[in-house]
Amino acid sequence: MNNRENIIEIKNVSKSFGDKCILNNVSISVKQGEFLTLLGPSGCGKTTLLRMIAGFGSPDSGEILINGTDITDMPPHERPVNTVFQRYALFPHLDVYENIAFGLKLHKVPEDEIDKRVRKVLKMVSMTDYEDRDVESLSGGQQQRVAIARAIVNQPKVLLLDEPLSALDLKMRKDMQIELKEMHRKLGITFIYVTHDQEEALTLSDTIVVLDNGDIKQIGTPTDIYNEPQNAFVADFIGESNILNGKMIKDKLVEFAGHEFECVDEGFGENVDVDVVVRPEDIYITNKVESAQFTAKVKSCTFKGVHYEMFVDTDKGYELMIQDYNAFEPDTEVGLIIRPADIQVMHKERSVNTYEGEIISENKVKFLNAEWECEPQTEFEPGQKVNVSVNFSNVDLIDHPEDGTLEGEVYFLLYKGNHYHLTVMTDHREYIWVDTNDIWDKGDLVGINIAPKDIKITKLDD
């Protein structure tokens, strides 16, 4: 696959709507014949990026190349790509046959060839007897098939699919996933697929691009993304996971949940703070407490069909999720074992909040677009730029936004075994990260306070 040429190159593409950054310097290469998925939560910029490839909306900066040709400013009708729209957008004034033949007629393909090609794709999407039907009379799944047929009949170089299965029910979605995969194999054309459904992405893709808030979080094969997430966001977004704070003691030895574990990771340095991911199915749970690495007490046990899902409290007070084929009753003492290869160690993106600030007066400093009281200091002059840092655990969140020095919204939350790690977006679209034991929900509006003694001011290092 490596020697195949890149059919699409997205180079340093950025886009903002107003002051909201939708895409932030995104670069992706797509190989000929690849099934690439743009995966991320709603509002991460995946649809905007797909629409740019189709020609609806242009980047503020950066360029998009197809087969080496810059198409950034090319109008949609000249691009060698076709799109399957989220809500299909089948033409209601045309029947199934006419919908599929629409693109071919525009390209002045001879009538008998149109007929041949339309019938061929109808067969491919198993809609052979529906050619005279009114598109409005079709079910969601059938409309979906017609939408795919209408796009692939034009033999595009690249097929763009914008959450094409999101309107279908679960059973239908699973069937269509298999058919899409099969279609991709038969046609040999490049698919770029947008979805927020991680399972769909894992099932279908050759390559997954995980996007969040306009940034690429990771690019990799489904197995890479699942087994070796590069950061807490990817680990949390793809599948179930236990994400804990840890410390890399030395190569191949990591400490988390109050215990030291052998692992396979190297090159982090000694005594470095890291994030550790352990998938719930990778924790071995046993009755033999003596031979285990550490012990825990089962808190809850739920039957999930194939496996049981258990929450346990470890001997050092961490909560872990475990999936196993055997059930362990609540209140049972159990032994836990984690194999070195199943421990995924990740660099921490940050270990403390740091901002560039400005001294306002002896006991006032401005950062995050707000003025904060700090401990009296004489080292810096008013107006001087300084470095401000605040520990995650020293940020207080309060229920009433108006009572805080700054107002914000809980944007993302991560459970780290014994506390929550929150990403809070301020009213000025900046972020502050918070460690807390309180339970907040995504989207909660909060007030943000920081005690004067917890604001650390240091000289701005340039």
């Binding site: 020609g55 799109t83 957008a89 004034h93 525009l106």
Partner: protein
């Protein structure tokens, strides 16, 4: 009778008094002679009277011309109004719709006065100009409405499939906006067929339309002949509205 259905009573009374009863009376008078005996004479008189037939034909001609001009002027206007890139303000829409708020008679009188002042010869030209002025908003509004609500993913899908902006317009947006055009035709064509005040004022009664002769006959006490002519006109209007019904069935739930 349940409690809820009693709420319909006022409307039922209204419909009987002002819709059903007049229609029955028109039917009654149309098939009676002055003495009150059953006859087809009124219709025979109409279809054998060359002048009446000519007036009827002229009325249809004027109505068709007026409707045609209204489509030619109204569609582009509605298009521009519905296009967010070209029209960023809701005020422009109000400016186009505003004439509808003013009494048609007053507008017609004012138009006639305007033509007099400008020294135009009153005739078919001024008649058509006045009619277009009067009815244009009724064409723009339904078309604007449908264009404005049209899902823009249809246009995107078409251009994605290789349609130039011009092809997108003709192959997707025009066909999808047809229900709006049909509504516009109903709202312009039907009232133009029966109009009489506009022709009276804007041609100084030089041109008589079908509505005018109905009015003249009724005014001069010829109720039976007037009723027969009204019935002919109702049939024409009925045929036009059939056009809309068949389109409606075709397009049900589409746009």
């Amino acid at each position: 009778m349940t409690k809820r259905s009693t709420w319909a009573l006022p409307y039922a009374i209204f419909l009987v008094l002002f819709v059903a009863l007049p229609l029955i009376l028109i039917m009654f008078y149309a098939f009676r002679d002055a003495g009150g005996d059953f006859t087809f004479g009124n219709f025979v008189k109409f279809f054998t009277d060359k002048d009446a037939i000519e007036t009827f034909a002229l009325s249809l001609e004027v109505a068709i011309e007026n409707t045609g001009i209204c489509i030619l002027l109204g569609y582009p206007a509605a298009w521009i109004l519905a296009n967010k890139k070209l029209n960023k303000s809701a005020v422009t829409i109000v400016l186009f719709i505003m004439p509808m708020w003013i009494n048609a008679l007053m507008r017609t009188l004012a138009t006639a006065e305007l033509f007099n002042v400008l020294g135009f010869q009153l005739g078919k030209g001024t008649l058509l100009a006045g009619m277009v002025y009067d009815y244009l908003p009724f064409m723009i509004y339904p078309i604007y409405n449908i264009l404005e609500k049209m899902d823009k993913s249809y246009a995107e899908a078409a251009s994605d499939l290789g349609a130039t902006p011009w092809q997108v317009f003709w192959k997707v947006q025009v066909p999808l906006s047809m229900p709006g055009v049909i509504s516009g035709i109903m709202m312009v064509f039907m009232p133009t067929v029966s109009t009489f005040a506009i022709s009276e004022f804007l041609t100084n009664n030089k041109i008589k339309l079908f509505g005018t002769i109905i009015q003249e006959n009724i005014n001069s006490g010829m109720w039976n002949y007037g009723a027969a002519l009204s019935l002919v006109m109702l049939v024409i209007i009925g045929i036009t509205s059939l056009l809309q019904d068949s389109k409606k069935n075709l397009n049900e739930g589409r746009v």
